[in-house]
């Protein structure tokens, strides 16, 4: 019982502390690649700290939804994070349907974010919310197809089981279905975390914003919670990708030595994946909004092919 509590605490602490670091890493690496000095690795922590101490400006039109949204988003994302294997294959919390619950907890967070954006009645909030939901509606089927591809291979939708099977099979990552599912999931990762070909996380132009437009009315601690939740979500999706496709080095159960090894591997793999994201972000320009469905169609087709090829190869 105590052991279970410790596992939950360790994973929560990891999620809370590691997520801003990954965001900072991507920002710094991107700046360096573009020959800028960029913010330091710890800038995201400083931003959250600063926002948490500030006062809030709450729109007069805001209802209770506006106040509830940051907490719902933060807690849903955190709960989803507890169901993903981070440093050990067995997760602290295993609820209904494993990875399906993870996907739809994130969906719950996004739903409330959209409501919060609409709630104040500002035009940018509505615009951002509608765009975010459009992209989410296109990305979600792909995510499910890619997840099912892996789940069929493992014979279970529990993430712990999926990771266990993945560790057991040599050369598995070379299978075409895995490769296609990885490509599809990578595109989903870029769309869901609002990275460059789809959305620009550093934009200051309201008309091109997607995620930022939706949370434009939030300030102070609420904004801090939302930003933190966004970076946890990013860490979560990246870890999901890593768990399912490159699980080597992940210990089966949590133990002090296994923890360090697992953490070391995780950080190394996260750095690698961040490098990939940085390259994609630097090499591409932001797409027009109406071109995004084309990218998502590619992702969807890749996901569908991945699912088909699990039955055929």
């Amino acid at each position: 019982m105590i052991w279970a509590v410790i596992k939950v605490l360790v994973q929560t602490a990891l999620l809370l502390l590691l997520a801003p670091l990954v965001s900072g890493l991507i920002k710094t690496a991107k700046a360096r690649l573009q020959m800028r000095r960029g913010p330091g690795l710890l800038q995201t922590y400083r931003d959250i700290h600063k926002l948490l101490r500030k006062d809030m400006a709450i729109p007069t039109t805001a209802s209770w939804l506006f106040h509830a949204t940051p907490y719902v988003v933060f807690l849903a994302t955190l709960l989803a994070g507890l169901m993903v294997p981070i440093v050990a294959a067995d997760t602290p919390v295993g609820l209904f349907g494993g990875v399906l619950a993870v996907v739809y907890l994130l969906g719950l967070g996004r739903f409330f974010l959209a409501l919060g954006g609409l709630d104040t009645g500002s035009s940018f909030g509505g615009l951002g919310a509608s765009r975010e939901m459009t992209i989410a509606a296109l990305a979600e089927p792909t995510l499910m197809l890619a997840v099912f591809t892996v789940a069929i291979g493992a014979g279970s939708t529990t993430l712990a089981e999926m990771v266990r099977v993945a560790i057991g099979q040599q050369w598995r990552f070379l299978a075409p279905s895995q490769m296609l599912a990885f490509a599809a999931l990578f595109l989903v990762l870029i769309a869901e975390t609002g990275r460059i070909p789809v959305d620009n996380p550093a934009t200051h132009l309201e008309l091109t914003m997607i995620h930022e437009a939706m949370i434009l009315e939030y300030s102070g601690p609420y904004l801090a919670l939302i930003e933190w939740a966004a970076s946890i979500k990013q860490l979560l999706l990246m870890t999901l990708l890593i768990d399912v496709f490159w699980p080597f080095g992940l210990p089966q159960v949590l133990s002090p030595t296994g923890f360090l090894a697992g953490l070391g591997w995780l950080v190394a793999k996260l750095a690698l994946l961040s490098g990939g994201i940085v390259l994609v972000e630097t090499a591409n320009a932001k797409m027009r909004l109406f071109r995004v469905p084309e990218l998502m169609a590619v992702a969807f087709t890749l996901g569908a092919l991945a699912l088909i090829s699990t039955f055929l190869f």
Partner: protein, 226 residues
């Protein structure tokens, strides 16, 4: 143990590269820029050459190396250069305007891949030797073939149709190399010469169409009817 000697690894590697060839093909359907399309074709041909080299290595068939080198030289380097020079020379707009819109085209390509797998399934004989390699890559080859045809139908401009034809030819090459583990060298050489000449002739043809009609839209050729 040397990883390069394990035949299971080789088989997986070849299947993986074949899958990537297929992904590049779908990317070409989704890509609007003409120059990018030509470069994707180059990358696809390079992968195809690598597949040929891998087959040569794992089946100890040295004469396929020649086919691999020829593929990379001709299709991955020479043909893309020729086509890009043609694009520069005729100063066309670089955007491809497909008849069916892009997301739908991509989904159709996915459907065609499914058809290809169903077709390849009927050729599958589990008891036959080395069946699995032929089985997987044959399906990819047939999908390249079908998607290549679809791209030709779906595009109006002559030059983009040439690129589609070349990807179709890539599919034929993949099928040939995977099913027979290399045709006689003289046949291979003939095929490469054929491709090169085809590109040159089609290049001149495209140029002439452009000169006479001020457009590469092949539907304009209907005006030739008396």
């Amino acid at each position: 143990m040397d990883i390069l000697q394990i035949s299971e690894f080789g088989e997986r590697l070849i299947t993986l590269m074949a899958a990537m060839v297929l992904v590049l093909q779908i990317a070409m359907v989704g890509q609007r820029s003409l120059v990018m399309n030509i470069r994707l074709f180059g990358a696809q041909s390079f992968l195809l050459g690598s597949i040929a080299a891998a087959i040569a290595w794992y089946n100890h068939a040295p004469h396929i190396y020649v086919a691999a080198v020829m593929t990379i030289l001709v299709k991955a380097i020479l043909v893309p250069i020729l086509l890009e020079r043609l694009v520069e020379r005729i100063e066309i707009q670089h955007e491809i305007a497909p008849i069916v819109n892009v997301p739908l085209s991509i989904v159709i390509s996915g459907g065609l891949t499914l058809v290809a797998y169903v077709v390849a399934e009927s050729f599958y004989r589990p008891e036959a030797h080395a069946a699995s390699l032929g089985h997987n890559t044959l399906a990819v080859a047939i999908s390249l073939f079908l998607i290549g045809f679809f791209m030709m139908i779906n595009r109006r401009k002559a030059l983009t149709q040439v690129v589609a034809l070349l990807t179709l030819e890539n599919g034929v090459f993949l099928a040939a190399i995977c099913l027979t583990y290399g045709m006689p060298l003289i046949v291979e050489l003939g095929v490469f010469f054929d491709v090169l000449v085809a590109v040159l002739v089609l290049g001149i043809l495209v140029y002439r169409i452009r000169e006479s009609f001020d457009s590469m839209d092949v539907s304009k050729l209907r005006r030739l009817r008396g």
